[in-house]
Symmetry: C2
Subunit: 400 residues, 2 copies
Amino acid sequence: MKYSKAMEAIKPSDIREILKLTANPEVISFAGGVPDPDLFPIEALKKATDEVFEKSARRALQYGTTEGFLPLREKIIAMMKERGIDADPDQLLLVTGAQQGIEFAGKVFLNPGDAVLCESPSYSGAVNAYLPYLPKFIEVPTNDDGISVEAMAKILEMEEKPRLIYVIPNFQNPAGRSWTTETRIKFMELMEKYDIPIVEDDPYGNLIFEGETPPSLKSMDKKGNVIYLGSFSKILCPGLRTGWICAREDILRKFVVVKQCADIHSNSLAQEIIATYLEHNDINEQIEKIKQLYRHRKDLMIAAIEKYFPAECKYTNPNGGMFIWVEMPDGFNTRDILKDALAEKVAFIPGGGFFPAEENEKCFRLNFSTMHDDRIEEGIKRLGRILQAYIDNGKKCDEA
Amino acid sequence: MKYSKAMEAIKPSDIREILKLTANPEVISFAGGVPDPDLFPIEALKKATDEVFEKSARRALQYGTTEGFLPLREKIIAMMKERGIDADPDQLLLVTGAQQGIEFAGKVFLNPGDAVLCESPSYSGAVNAYLPYLPKFIEVPTNDDGISVEAMAKILEMEEKPRLIYVIPNFQNPAGRSWTTETRIKFMELMEKYDIPIVEDDPYGNLIFEGETPPSLKSMDKKGNVIYLGSFSKILCPGLRTGWICAREDILRKFVVVKQCADIHSNSLAQEIIATYLEHNDINEQIEKIKQLYRHRKDLMIAAIEKYFPAECKYTNPNGGMFIWVEMPDGFNTRDILKDALAEKVAFIPGGGFFPAEENEKCFRLNFSTMHDDRIEEGIKRLGRILQAYIDNGKKCDEA
C-alpha cells in the first residue's frame, strides 16, 4: 500500500509508546502528562450530567453547530475575560481538545517547505501535528525568562519568514518554564512588525503556584494575529476532550470550515455537561485544589532531586503546570538511560522528541501531577542512583 | 493574513449554511440529514451514563488510548460480525464520527494532484474533506443498481490510477440508492486487480426497510484494501460523535498515528456510555424502531411526491436510509428553486455540492427522517407547487 508524503513524515508519538510500557502499576511513572484523577470533580460532573439528561437530552444527543454549544462558548469568554482576553462568541470555536486546534493551524496556514518557529524545546505533540504539512522547524533558544526575543528578532530579519509561530508561554510542556511579563511585551512588540499567525497554546496558564499568571499574548494582541488555544483538560478533566480556539473572526472562520470537514463538531453531550457544571460551580475553586496538590508534589520532587540527583544535572523549578525538565551534561543520552530506569521500574520521557530541528538527547521530562508522595521520593531516589552511575561511569551504566 | 493552498481549496459546507436558514421552526425542512431525536433511547443512555459515573468515572473522565476504549471496540466487532465482517481489535480505531475517518483517509493517502474516485453524486462532506488535499475527482456514473462497474473498469485502465476510492454502497447520501449484491461482487472482483485503498462509508447500512442489507465490501475484501467506516450517529445518536474505522492492521496503524496528532483520542465518556448501553440493550431493537418510523415517513413522502410533484421530476424510492433524490429536467437550477422554496417556508438541499467534478444543478436532496406526517404532506405539496410553476414557466418562477 502506498501512502501520502504527509504520512511518511509523521511518526508514532514516542510518549504514547513509552506510556504503554508504564501501564504496569509497579512502575513509578514520571512519564505521563495526565492530571490526577483524584482531583476530578466527579460528583459535580455527575449532577451536571443528570441535569443535562433531564433538561436537554434530545439536544445534547443530537448533531450540533460546528462552532459549538453557545452557552459554553459564552462561559469560556467569561473565563478568558478574567485572564484579560476580550472576545465574543464569533471569535470562539470549540474543538476536541486544544490538540485539535494545534493541528488545524497546520492545515490553515502551512504549505510544504514553510517554516514553523517554536521554542527550544517545544511540545512534541505539536511538532508531530505539524510534520505532515512538511514544514521546516526553527527552534528559538529559551531560558528561564522565556523565549529569546533577541534571537527571534534575528530570525525574523531573514528573507524567508516563518509562516507560523507556535509557543506555550505558561509552564511549558516539556520544560515547565514561563515567560516573564517583560518577555511577553517585547515579543508582542516585535511581532507587531509582521503578519505572522501566532499560536498561543495555554493549557497550563491557570495552574500557577505562586503569584499571578502574566498576561496572555492574546490579551496584548493589537493586530489580532494571536490564535489562542484553551482547554478544560488540565483544569477539569481531559476525557471530555473539550478545548477551544479564540481568534480574530476572519481567521476563526477558516478554522470553522476545517472543523466542519474534520468531524462536523465536537461531542455535544460533553459541551452541555461542562456548560452546566460551570453554571453551578466556581471553576476557580477547582483550579485552587489542583494548584495546591501539584505545588506540594512539585516541591517534594524538587526536594528529592536536590537530595538524590548528581550535582551535574540541571533542572527547572517551575512555578506552575505539571513538568520539571532535567538536563544532563553533554554526551549523555537519556533514551539509553530510560532503558535502565525501566529496568528499575521508574520512568520519564527522554527529551529528544521535544527538539524538532536540533539533535539533543541529554534532557528528560519529569511529570509531578499524578504520583503520590512516597512514590515521588522513591522514584527520584532510584532515578538519582541511575543518573549517578551514568555520571560516574561516563555515559555508561552497567550496574544501576 | 495569508492562508495555505489547502485553505484556498476548502469551502464552507453549503448544507450547514442552509441549515442555519431552516432553524426557524415554521420552516418545513427536508434539508437536514439528522436522525429524529424522538427515537433517541434517552432512558437507556441515562442508565448507562449513571453506571459509568458509578463504576468508572475516573477512567471515563481521564485521557484514554488513541485506539479507543477496548470494550467498545470489542462490541463493535461483534456488531460487524453480524454484517459478515471479521475483524479483531487491532483492526479497529474509534473516531469522532465517521466523518473523521473520511478526512483521515485524505491525509493518509493523498498527495496534491492525486485522483479520488467516487460515485456520481457523492456525499458532499467527503468531497469537502478531500478538497484541502488538492485532488482531482473522478465521478463514476451510478444507477439503481449502484456504481457502474463497467465505467469504473474503463477508468482504471487509464495510465493514472486513482489514489483513493470513496463509496457509500448502502442508501447513499444523497441519492438513497444501494448497490445490488451483484454490483458489489463485480466491483470487488475488479478491484482485486489493483492496490487502491477503498473507503467504504456505511452509516446507513443497518437502516434497511425491507429484506436484508447486501454484504458489505469489507466482508468480501480478500486483499484487505477496504477501509470500512461505521458510525453510531444514525443508529443510536450523533451527539456522542462516535464512529469507527476498520482496516487491515498495517493500514490502521497509519490512521492511529494520524489520530494521535489530530486530537489524541475521542471522548472517553461517550465511549464508555455507548459500551455500557450495548452491554444492557439490544441495539437491533433500537434499529428496528428507527427503520419502522423512517420507512413510514419515506412511504408517505413518496406518496406525496407521486401526488404533488410534476411528472417531469424523477426521483429515487430508497429501501433504507434517510434520503430521496429528485432530478429536474435539464436546464433547471435547484439553487434558484431553493430561494422560492424558502420564501414558502419549505427547504431542501440543492444537489450541486454532491458533484465534485461535473456541473449539475438540476437535482436536489430530500430528507425524510425528522418531519412528522402532516408536515411531510404539506411540505411536499408546497414544493410540488413551486416545481410545477418552474416547469410551467420554463426555468423561471415569478409567482410560486
